[in-house]
Amino acid sequence: MMRSTLGDNIHGDEELLPVRGGYIIITLVLALLLNLVPLPGWLSSATPDFVALLIVYWSVFQAHRVGLWPAWVLGLFMDVADASLFGQHAMAYCVAAYAGIFVHRRIQMFPMSYQIAHVLAILLGQQALQLLIRLVANAEPPDMLYFVSSLTGAALWPALVGILMLPLRQRTGPEEV
């Protein structure tokens, strides 16, 4: 994949369709659905937190449209679904969205490996924040498998970028227009 000048997106000089608000909402709802899929215990610690991943994705690629409040609302939903403390995911997702927006200019310039490193750092950071909240609330610390979901989440990043850009590809070539 060819990288181009500053301000362009990472997908080379291919022009993508503008992202609609509905598309963002649909992908976020799908991520929430994926998070709700019941899985056996050993698998559920390895599956990525799709909502966190999508929040990072949209805050990187649509930094000016996706603010912090979608992250906060989705966090509240995850808190109820996970039976965790009310506000735990909300706070962590907000920080993740903030971090995504904070690095969005630079991350789009980077090759994929650097992007993955950034995403991994953000995902680990939001998990660490949740861990901190729970430890303050007097919970038992979990085993190190807890952080595996961030690793798998970051590993999914290239695939996520590819998949989410698919519907935004222009159907007709520029010469037909």
Partner: protein
């Protein structure tokens, strides 16, 4: 693209201000939830919105299970059927014996003027999913306040006590397993009659009997059943089997048990309704809700 261009005019408060705002809002929620439990109504509102999504998300697993069931061989079905028939025969005789004992017991209790043991309504529920939260041991079941589930009710499976309903939403409920760190069940040893309380350890497959003296009459393999003095769990349900005892601790023995119920592998559970209000017991003061201090046997 208009989106990727930097904004010329500042819109709204800056990002860091918004982050601080949402962080403080989350902190307020956290404190209100963790310390005061003010937010149960908001929680149940969110849970109602979430319920159709949870149902939808559970469809693939259900389909897979169906598909798995479809490909069961006839031989396996036949074998299972035979086994169930045999078990049923055994159970029938057992049930008859229990009925006779029950009648006998009731008569004896009437002789000594003891109040009859109340029977409980049961609601069968299915576990939708295990909570992803790695800090707690909770499952979510598909019955809620609309089906008569209330916070605090006991949940059992065919082997013993699973836990207690800790949050009841309109369509679903959260059940804290006996292995949850905040869950405790008053129990009694079948062999020696020693009373104790099990405490969850926060991970699968183990609970602990705390504050037991070093010389307590407990052995490996002892079955502990609910003592019934808490008024939540009916007496006599298996809770845990002792697996390890360390008596060289400073002041208390460390007693670890394995839960009797299949705490992480069941799919169907029964929720026991609240007991009917008991008449005042003339011998002892009404037992306070748990945690109940172990009281001497009379």
């Amino acid at each position: 693209m208009p989106d990727s261009a930097p904004p010329i005019f500042k819109r709204g408060p800056s990002l860091i201000i918004r982050l601080v705002f949402f962080t403080i809002l989350s902190l307020v929620l956290l404190v209100a939830d963790a310390r005061f439990r003010y937010l149960e109504d908001i929680r149940s509102g969110v849970s109602v919105v979430l319920f159709p999504m949870q149902e939808a998300a559970a469809v693939p697993a259900a389909v897979l299970e169906r598909a798995g069931e479809f490909f069961v061989t006839q031989a396996a079905l036949y074998r299972e059927n035979e086994q169930l028939k045999r078990e049923r025969l055994l159970n029938v005789s057992e049930v008859q014996r229990i009925k006779a004992l029950e009648a006998d017991n009731e008569q004896l209790r009437r002789l000594v003027n003891a109040p009859p043991i109340p029977t409980r309504e049961r609601t069968v529920a299915e576990i939708i999913y295990e909570s992803r939260d790695p800090f707690t041991r909770k499952v979510v079941i598909d019955r809620g306040t609309m089906h008569g589930i209330k916070t605090g009710q006991a949940v059992v499976d065919h082997l013993g006590v699973i836990g207690q309903v800790t949050r009841a939403f309109p369509f679903v409920s959260e059940v804290s397993l006996v292995t949850d760190k905040s869950q405790s069940v008053p129990v009694q040893s079948v062999r020696s009659g020693v009373r104790s309380i099990t405490f969850g350890l926060g991970h699968d497959g183990a609970v602990e009997l705390r504050f037991m003296p070093v010389n307590a009459d407990v052995q490996n393999g002892d079955l502990f059943v609910t003592s019934g003095i808490d008024g939540v769990f009916p007496a006599g349900l298996p809770v845990a089997v002792v697996t390890n005892i360390e008596r060289n601790a400073q002041s208390f023995a460390r007693i670890t048990c394995a839960p009797a119920a299949a705490v992480s592998s069941y799919t169907r559970v029964a929720v026991l309704a609240d007991p009917p209000p008991m008449p005042a017991n003339p011998l002892t003061a009404p037992a306070p809700p748990k945690p109940v201090p172990p009281e001497p046997q009379q």
